[in-house]
Protein backbone atom coordinates (compact mmCIF):
# COMPACT_ATOMS: atom_id res chain seq x y z
CA UNK A 1 0.00 0.00 0.00
CA UNK A 2 1.15 3.52 -0.77
CA UNK A 3 -0.14 6.40 1.35
CA UNK A 4 -0.66 9.72 -0.39
CA UNK A 5 -0.57 12.32 2.36
CA UNK A 6 -0.19 16.07 2.68
CA UNK A 7 1.70 15.39 5.91
CA UNK A 8 4.29 12.69 5.14
CA UNK A 9 6.17 13.04 8.45
CA UNK A 10 2.98 12.11 10.32
CA UNK A 11 2.23 9.21 7.97
CA UNK A 12 5.78 7.91 8.40
CA UNK A 13 5.70 8.37 12.15
CA UNK A 14 2.52 6.30 12.19
CA UNK A 15 4.41 3.55 10.37
CA UNK A 16 3.32 3.96 6.72
CA UNK A 17 6.08 2.31 4.69
CA UNK A 18 5.49 3.89 1.26
CA UNK A 19 4.53 7.55 1.35
CA UNK A 20 3.99 10.09 -1.44
CA UNK A 21 3.77 13.80 -0.70
CA UNK A 22 0.29 15.08 -1.56
CA UNK A 23 -0.61 18.67 -2.38
CA UNK A 24 -2.54 20.02 0.60
CA UNK A 25 -4.75 18.58 3.33
CA UNK A 26 -7.89 19.98 1.68
CA UNK A 27 -6.96 18.63 -1.76
CA UNK A 28 -4.35 15.91 -1.38
CA UNK A 29 -4.61 14.73 -4.99
CA UNK A 30 -4.76 17.95 -6.99
CA UNK A 31 -5.05 21.71 -6.88
CA UNK A 32 -8.39 23.41 -7.58
CA UNK A 33 -6.66 26.74 -8.18
CA UNK A 34 -5.08 25.35 -11.35
CA UNK A 35 -6.81 24.98 -14.70
CA UNK A 36 -8.70 21.67 -14.99
CA UNK A 37 -6.05 20.34 -17.35
CA UNK A 38 -3.14 21.32 -15.10
CA UNK A 39 -5.00 19.94 -12.06
CA UNK A 40 -5.46 16.61 -13.82
CA UNK A 41 -1.80 16.54 -14.87
CA UNK A 42 -0.74 17.16 -11.26
CA UNK A 43 -3.08 14.43 -10.02
CA UNK A 44 -1.76 12.03 -12.63
CA UNK A 45 1.85 12.64 -11.54
CA UNK A 46 0.90 11.92 -7.92
CA UNK A 47 -0.96 8.69 -8.69
CA UNK A 48 1.82 7.51 -11.01
CA UNK A 49 4.39 8.16 -8.30
CA UNK A 50 2.23 6.20 -5.82
CA UNK A 51 1.99 3.26 -8.25
CA UNK A 52 5.73 3.39 -8.80
CA UNK A 53 6.35 3.30 -5.04
CA UNK A 54 4.36 0.05 -4.88
CA UNK A 55 6.94 -1.56 -7.15
CA UNK A 56 9.99 -0.66 -5.04
CA UNK A 57 11.28 -2.72 -2.09
CA UNK A 58 11.56 -0.75 1.16
CA UNK A 59 12.73 -1.73 4.61
CA UNK A 60 10.83 0.90 6.60
CA UNK A 61 8.91 4.17 6.21
CA UNK A 62 10.13 5.75 2.95
CA UNK A 63 9.16 8.96 1.18
CA UNK A 64 8.90 8.72 -2.62
Amino acid sequence: MTVISALPPLAMQAGANRVVQGVKIEHVCGDPSLSPAADRALRRRLVERALQALQVAVDGPTLF
Binding site: M1, T2, I4, G15, C29, D39, A57
Partner: protein, 345 residues
Protein backbone atom coordinates in the same frame (compact mmCIF):
# COMPACT_ATOMS: atom_id res chain seq x y z
CA UNK B 1 -11.36 -10.61 58.37
CA UNK B 2 -10.90 -10.30 54.60
CA UNK B 3 -11.67 -13.52 52.76
CA UNK B 4 -9.31 -13.73 49.81
CA UNK B 5 -9.48 -15.88 46.69
CA UNK B 6 -6.16 -16.26 44.88
CA UNK B 7 -5.65 -17.15 41.21
CA UNK B 8 -2.45 -18.93 40.13
CA UNK B 9 -1.16 -20.65 37.01
CA UNK B 10 0.22 -24.18 37.00
CA UNK B 11 3.81 -22.99 37.44
CA UNK B 12 3.32 -20.88 40.56
CA UNK B 13 0.99 -23.51 42.01
CA UNK B 14 3.90 -25.93 41.87
CA UNK B 15 2.26 -28.32 39.41
CA UNK B 16 4.85 -27.89 36.67
CA UNK B 17 6.06 -25.86 33.71
CA UNK B 18 5.03 -25.81 30.05
CA UNK B 19 4.37 -29.55 30.05
CA UNK B 20 1.51 -28.87 32.47
CA UNK B 21 0.20 -25.73 30.77
CA UNK B 22 -2.95 -27.63 29.76
CA UNK B 23 -3.86 -28.28 33.39
CA UNK B 24 -7.62 -27.78 33.80
CA UNK B 25 -9.04 -25.37 36.41
CA UNK B 26 -8.79 -26.79 39.90
CA UNK B 27 -9.85 -25.29 43.24
CA UNK B 28 -7.66 -25.92 46.27
CA UNK B 29 -8.44 -24.83 49.81
CA UNK B 30 -6.18 -22.25 51.45
CA UNK B 31 -3.01 -20.62 50.12
CA UNK B 32 -0.39 -22.18 47.81
CA UNK B 33 3.01 -20.82 46.77
CA UNK B 34 2.83 -17.00 46.58
CA UNK B 35 -0.45 -17.27 48.48
CA UNK B 36 1.52 -18.26 51.55
CA UNK B 37 3.53 -15.05 51.26
CA UNK B 38 0.26 -13.12 51.00
CA UNK B 39 -0.94 -14.88 54.11
CA UNK B 40 2.23 -13.78 55.91
CA UNK B 41 1.66 -10.15 54.86
CA UNK B 42 -1.90 -10.19 56.18
CA UNK B 43 -1.01 -10.07 59.90
CA UNK B 44 -4.20 -11.75 60.98
CA UNK B 45 -6.73 -9.41 59.38
CA UNK B 46 -7.36 -11.64 56.41
CA UNK B 47 -7.09 -15.13 55.05
CA UNK B 48 -6.45 -16.74 51.69
CA UNK B 49 -9.42 -19.09 51.81
CA UNK B 50 -9.18 -20.63 48.37
CA UNK B 51 -6.85 -20.88 45.38
CA UNK B 52 -7.96 -21.41 41.81
CA UNK B 53 -5.24 -22.97 39.67
CA UNK B 54 -5.37 -23.23 35.89
CA UNK B 55 -2.80 -24.01 33.22
CA UNK B 56 -1.91 -21.03 31.02
CA UNK B 57 -2.70 -22.82 27.78
CA UNK B 58 -5.96 -24.16 29.13
CA UNK B 59 -7.12 -20.71 30.21
CA UNK B 60 -6.30 -19.10 26.87
CA UNK B 61 -7.34 -21.93 24.56
CA UNK B 62 -10.48 -23.12 26.32
CA UNK B 63 -11.68 -19.71 27.43
CA UNK B 64 -15.33 -20.58 27.84
CA UNK B 65 -14.63 -23.52 30.16
CA UNK B 66 -12.05 -21.51 32.12
CA UNK B 67 -14.42 -18.57 32.54
CA UNK B 68 -17.12 -20.93 33.71
CA UNK B 69 -14.74 -22.34 36.31
CA UNK B 70 -13.82 -18.84 37.54
CA UNK B 71 -17.50 -17.86 37.84
CA UNK B 72 -18.31 -21.05 39.74
CA UNK B 73 -15.32 -20.48 42.05
CA UNK B 74 -16.45 -16.92 42.78
CA UNK B 75 -19.98 -18.13 43.44
CA UNK B 76 -18.94 -21.01 45.72
CA UNK B 77 -16.13 -19.25 47.60
CA UNK B 78 -17.82 -15.84 47.99
CA UNK B 79 -14.55 -14.00 48.62
CA UNK B 80 -14.29 -10.35 49.68
CA UNK B 81 -11.30 -9.89 47.45
CA UNK B 82 -9.57 -11.56 44.50
CA UNK B 83 -5.84 -11.42 44.01
CA UNK B 84 -4.54 -12.76 40.69
CA UNK B 85 -0.90 -13.62 40.08
CA UNK B 86 1.25 -11.56 39.95
CA UNK B 87 2.06 -12.65 36.41
CA UNK B 88 5.15 -10.43 35.84
CA UNK B 89 5.97 -10.51 32.09
CA UNK B 90 4.27 -13.86 31.35
CA UNK B 91 1.82 -13.11 28.55
CA UNK B 92 -0.70 -15.95 28.78
CA UNK B 93 -0.67 -15.83 32.57
CA UNK B 94 -1.13 -12.04 32.43
CA UNK B 95 -4.10 -12.37 30.09
CA UNK B 96 -5.62 -14.98 32.45
CA UNK B 97 -5.10 -12.72 35.49
CA UNK B 98 -6.73 -9.78 33.65
CA UNK B 99 -9.67 -12.00 32.70
CA UNK B 100 -10.05 -13.20 36.30
CA UNK B 101 -10.15 -9.52 37.36
CA UNK B 102 -12.83 -8.83 34.74
CA UNK B 103 -14.99 -11.74 35.93
CA UNK B 104 -14.54 -10.67 39.55
CA UNK B 105 -15.66 -7.14 38.65
CA UNK B 106 -18.64 -8.67 36.90
CA UNK B 107 -19.49 -10.53 40.12
CA UNK B 108 -19.01 -7.38 42.20
CA UNK B 109 -15.85 -8.64 43.92
CA UNK B 110 -12.89 -6.23 44.02
CA UNK B 111 -9.80 -7.68 42.33
CA UNK B 112 -6.16 -6.70 41.96
CA UNK B 113 -3.35 -8.19 39.91
CA UNK B 114 0.30 -7.37 39.21
CA UNK B 115 1.86 -7.20 35.73
CA UNK B 116 5.04 -5.98 34.08
CA UNK B 117 4.40 -2.84 31.96
CA UNK B 118 4.90 -4.83 28.75
CA UNK B 119 2.62 -7.71 29.68
CA UNK B 120 -0.05 -7.92 26.93
CA UNK B 121 -2.56 -8.78 29.66
CA UNK B 122 -2.59 -5.05 30.40
CA UNK B 123 -4.39 -4.48 27.11
CA UNK B 124 -6.97 -7.21 27.52
CA UNK B 125 -8.92 -5.60 30.37
CA UNK B 126 -8.12 -1.92 30.79
CA UNK B 127 -10.42 -1.49 33.78
CA UNK B 128 -8.44 -3.92 35.96
CA UNK B 129 -6.57 -2.60 38.97
CA UNK B 130 -3.00 -3.61 38.13
CA UNK B 131 0.17 -2.77 40.02
CA UNK B 132 3.43 -2.65 38.05
CA UNK B 133 5.89 -5.45 38.77
CA UNK B 134 9.34 -6.51 37.65
CA UNK B 135 9.64 -8.87 34.71
CA UNK B 136 10.35 -12.02 36.72
CA UNK B 137 9.46 -13.77 39.96
CA UNK B 138 12.56 -12.20 41.52
CA UNK B 139 10.24 -9.25 42.15
CA UNK B 140 7.65 -11.34 43.99
CA UNK B 141 7.90 -9.75 47.44
CA UNK B 142 7.46 -6.09 46.40
CA UNK B 143 4.77 -7.10 43.88
CA UNK B 144 2.69 -8.86 46.55
CA UNK B 145 3.13 -5.98 48.99
CA UNK B 146 1.97 -3.46 46.35
CA UNK B 147 -0.98 -5.66 45.32
CA UNK B 148 -2.09 -6.04 48.89
CA UNK B 149 -1.73 -2.32 49.67
CA UNK B 150 -3.98 -1.45 46.72
CA UNK B 151 -6.35 -4.29 47.57
CA UNK B 152 -6.80 -3.02 51.13
CA UNK B 153 -7.90 0.32 49.67
CA UNK B 154 -10.40 -1.47 47.48
CA UNK B 155 -12.08 -3.59 50.15
CA UNK B 156 -12.57 -0.92 52.75
CA UNK B 157 -11.69 2.52 53.91
CA UNK B 158 -11.05 5.16 51.32
CA UNK B 159 -11.26 4.12 47.68
CA UNK B 160 -7.99 4.32 45.68
CA UNK B 161 -7.05 7.77 44.41
CA UNK B 162 -5.75 8.51 40.90
CA UNK B 163 -3.42 5.99 39.28
CA UNK B 164 -0.45 8.38 39.24
CA UNK B 165 -0.79 9.01 42.98
CA UNK B 166 -1.42 5.41 44.02
CA UNK B 167 1.07 3.79 41.69
CA UNK B 168 -1.21 1.43 39.74
CA UNK B 169 -1.54 1.44 35.95
CA UNK B 170 -3.95 4.06 34.53
CA UNK B 171 -7.35 2.51 33.87
CA UNK B 172 -8.48 4.99 31.25
CA UNK B 173 -10.99 6.61 33.60
CA UNK B 174 -11.13 10.36 34.17
CA UNK B 175 -12.69 11.90 37.23
CA UNK B 176 -13.14 15.59 37.89
CA UNK B 177 -10.66 16.92 40.40
CA UNK B 178 -8.70 19.97 41.43
CA UNK B 179 -5.08 20.66 40.55
CA UNK B 180 -2.78 23.08 42.29
CA UNK B 181 -2.66 25.39 39.26
CA UNK B 182 -4.89 26.11 36.25
CA UNK B 183 -4.21 24.38 32.93
CA UNK B 184 -2.52 27.40 31.34
CA UNK B 185 -0.01 27.64 34.19
CA UNK B 186 0.67 23.91 34.08
CA UNK B 187 1.17 23.98 30.31
CA UNK B 188 3.54 26.97 30.57
CA UNK B 189 5.52 25.28 33.35
CA UNK B 190 5.78 22.13 31.23
CA UNK B 191 7.05 24.14 28.25
CA UNK B 192 9.63 25.96 30.41
CA UNK B 193 10.84 22.62 31.81
CA UNK B 194 11.08 21.18 28.30
CA UNK B 195 13.03 24.19 26.97
CA UNK B 196 15.42 23.94 29.91
CA UNK B 197 15.92 20.25 29.23
CA UNK B 198 14.37 19.36 32.59
CA UNK B 199 12.06 16.39 33.12
CA UNK B 200 8.33 17.00 32.83
CA UNK B 201 5.29 14.80 32.59
CA UNK B 202 2.60 15.23 29.98
CA UNK B 203 -1.03 15.13 31.06
CA UNK B 204 -2.09 13.74 27.68
CA UNK B 205 0.20 10.86 26.72
CA UNK B 206 0.38 10.10 22.99
CA UNK B 207 -0.48 6.51 22.18
CA UNK B 208 2.29 4.66 20.39
CA UNK B 209 2.02 3.06 16.97
CA UNK B 210 2.75 -0.48 15.82
CA UNK B 211 5.61 -1.04 13.40
CA UNK B 212 4.13 -2.77 10.33
CA UNK B 213 6.56 -4.77 8.18
CA UNK B 214 6.58 -3.36 4.62
CA UNK B 215 4.73 -5.36 1.97
CA UNK B 216 7.00 -6.77 -0.74
CA UNK B 217 7.04 -4.77 -3.99
CA UNK B 218 4.37 -5.53 -6.60
CA UNK B 219 6.13 -7.63 -9.24
CA UNK B 220 3.75 -7.21 -12.18
CA UNK B 221 1.78 -4.00 -11.87
CA UNK B 222 0.18 -4.51 -15.27
CA UNK B 223 -1.53 -7.62 -13.87
CA UNK B 224 -2.39 -6.14 -10.46
CA UNK B 225 -5.85 -5.54 -9.06
CA UNK B 226 -5.72 -2.19 -7.30
CA UNK B 227 -7.77 -1.07 -4.31
CA UNK B 228 -8.30 2.54 -3.26
CA UNK B 229 -8.94 3.62 0.31
CA UNK B 230 -9.37 7.03 1.90
CA UNK B 231 -9.61 8.47 5.39
CA UNK B 232 -10.87 11.69 3.78
CA UNK B 233 -14.59 11.14 4.36
CA UNK B 234 -15.58 10.88 0.68
CA UNK B 235 -19.00 9.19 0.63
CA UNK B 236 -22.01 8.92 -1.69
CA UNK B 237 -24.06 12.11 -1.75
CA UNK B 238 -26.42 12.22 1.21
CA UNK B 239 -24.02 10.16 3.37
CA UNK B 240 -26.26 7.06 3.54
CA UNK B 241 -24.33 5.45 6.41
CA UNK B 242 -24.08 8.65 8.44
CA UNK B 243 -20.29 8.59 8.45
CA UNK B 244 -19.40 11.11 11.14
CA UNK B 245 -17.45 14.32 10.49
CA UNK B 246 -15.24 13.44 13.46
CA UNK B 247 -14.61 10.64 15.97
CA UNK B 248 -15.86 8.00 13.53
CA UNK B 249 -15.37 4.39 14.63
CA UNK B 250 -16.35 2.58 11.41
CA UNK B 251 -15.52 2.32 7.70
CA UNK B 252 -17.64 1.52 4.65
CA UNK B 253 -17.12 0.45 1.08
CA UNK B 254 -18.93 2.10 -1.81
CA UNK B 255 -19.36 1.14 -5.46
CA UNK B 256 -17.22 2.59 -8.23
CA UNK B 257 -18.20 0.20 -11.02
CA UNK B 258 -19.16 1.99 -14.20
CA UNK B 259 -17.98 5.39 -12.97
CA UNK B 260 -15.29 7.30 -14.87
CA UNK B 261 -14.83 9.98 -12.23
CA UNK B 262 -16.40 11.08 -8.94
CA UNK B 263 -19.10 13.58 -9.77
CA UNK B 264 -20.04 16.19 -7.13
CA UNK B 265 -23.66 15.27 -7.86
CA UNK B 266 -23.08 11.71 -6.66
CA UNK B 267 -20.35 12.06 -4.01
CA UNK B 268 -19.46 14.48 -1.25
CA UNK B 269 -16.81 14.96 1.41
CA UNK B 270 -18.08 14.89 5.00
CA UNK B 271 -14.70 15.19 6.75
CA UNK B 272 -15.01 17.79 9.50
CA UNK B 273 -11.30 18.29 10.15
CA UNK B 274 -10.51 20.55 7.21
CA UNK B 275 -12.22 22.97 4.82
CA UNK B 276 -13.99 20.40 2.66
CA UNK B 277 -15.69 22.61 0.05
CA UNK B 278 -13.01 21.97 -2.64
CA UNK B 279 -13.38 18.21 -2.08
CA UNK B 280 -17.19 18.48 -2.27
CA UNK B 281 -16.94 20.40 -5.54
CA UNK B 282 -14.49 17.88 -6.98
CA UNK B 283 -14.22 14.64 -4.93
CA UNK B 284 -11.45 13.44 -7.29
CA UNK B 285 -9.17 15.82 -5.38
CA UNK B 286 -9.32 13.29 -2.52
CA UNK B 287 -10.22 10.07 -4.30
CA UNK B 288 -8.53 10.38 -7.73
CA UNK B 289 -10.93 8.14 -9.67
CA UNK B 290 -10.65 10.16 -12.92
CA UNK B 291 -6.90 9.53 -13.16
CA UNK B 292 -7.16 5.94 -11.92
CA UNK B 293 -9.60 5.18 -14.79
CA UNK B 294 -7.25 6.78 -17.31
CA UNK B 295 -4.30 4.75 -16.02
CA UNK B 296 -6.44 1.58 -15.92
CA UNK B 297 -7.35 2.08 -19.59
CA UNK B 298 -3.69 2.67 -20.45
CA UNK B 299 -2.75 -0.61 -18.72
CA UNK B 300 -0.68 0.86 -15.88
CA UNK B 301 -2.46 -1.75 -13.72
CA UNK B 302 -4.97 -4.47 -14.58
CA UNK B 303 -8.13 -3.46 -12.76
CA UNK B 304 -9.45 -1.10 -10.15
CA UNK B 305 -11.62 -2.86 -7.56
CA UNK B 306 -15.33 -2.22 -8.06
CA UNK B 307 -15.62 -0.52 -4.66
CA UNK B 308 -13.52 1.82 -2.57
CA UNK B 309 -13.15 1.95 1.21
CA UNK B 310 -13.77 5.11 3.19
CA UNK B 311 -13.72 6.34 6.75
CA UNK B 312 -13.30 9.73 8.33
CA UNK B 313 -9.88 9.98 9.97
CA UNK B 314 -10.73 13.10 11.93
CA UNK B 315 -10.08 12.47 15.65
CA UNK B 316 -10.39 8.71 15.18
CA UNK B 317 -9.17 6.80 18.23
CA UNK B 318 -6.01 4.80 17.67
CA UNK B 319 -7.76 1.56 18.69
CA UNK B 320 -10.47 2.21 16.07
CA UNK B 321 -7.83 3.10 13.45
CA UNK B 322 -6.07 -0.19 14.09
CA UNK B 323 -9.27 -2.23 13.89
CA UNK B 324 -10.50 -0.39 10.79
CA UNK B 325 -7.09 -0.87 9.16
CA UNK B 326 -7.13 -4.60 9.88
CA UNK B 327 -10.72 -4.94 8.61
CA UNK B 328 -10.00 -2.97 5.43
CA UNK B 329 -6.87 -5.06 4.78
CA UNK B 330 -8.95 -8.22 5.16
CA UNK B 331 -11.61 -6.86 2.81
CA UNK B 332 -8.98 -5.92 0.21
CA UNK B 333 -7.61 -9.45 0.38
CA UNK B 334 -11.09 -10.90 -0.08
CA UNK B 335 -11.45 -8.74 -3.21
CA UNK B 336 -8.14 -10.25 -4.38
CA UNK B 337 -6.37 -6.90 -4.46
CA UNK B 338 -2.64 -7.09 -5.15
CA UNK B 339 -1.95 -3.49 -4.17
CA UNK B 340 -3.71 -0.48 -2.74
CA UNK B 341 -3.48 3.28 -2.45
CA UNK B 342 -4.54 5.15 0.67
CA UNK B 343 -5.29 8.84 0.43
CA UNK B 344 -4.98 10.38 3.90
CA UNK B 345 -6.20 13.92 4.39
Amino acid sequence: MIRIGHYLNQFFAGIGGEEHANHPPEVRPGPIGPGRAIQALLKGDGQVVSTLVCGDNFFNEQGETARGAVRAWLRDTRPDLILAGPAFAAGRYGAACAEVCRLADEAGVPAVTGLHPENPGLLSYKRAYVVPTGNSAAGMAPALAAMLALARRRVGGTPPGPAEAEGYFPRGIRRPGLRQAVGADRAAAMLVAKLRGQPFRTEIPVESYDAVPPAPPVAAMDRARLGIVTTGGVVPKGNPDHIRRCSETRWQHYALAGLDALSPDAFECVHGGFFNLPACENPNLVLPLDILRTLEREGAFAKLLDSYCATCGNDQRLADCQRNGAEIARWLREQQANAALLVAT
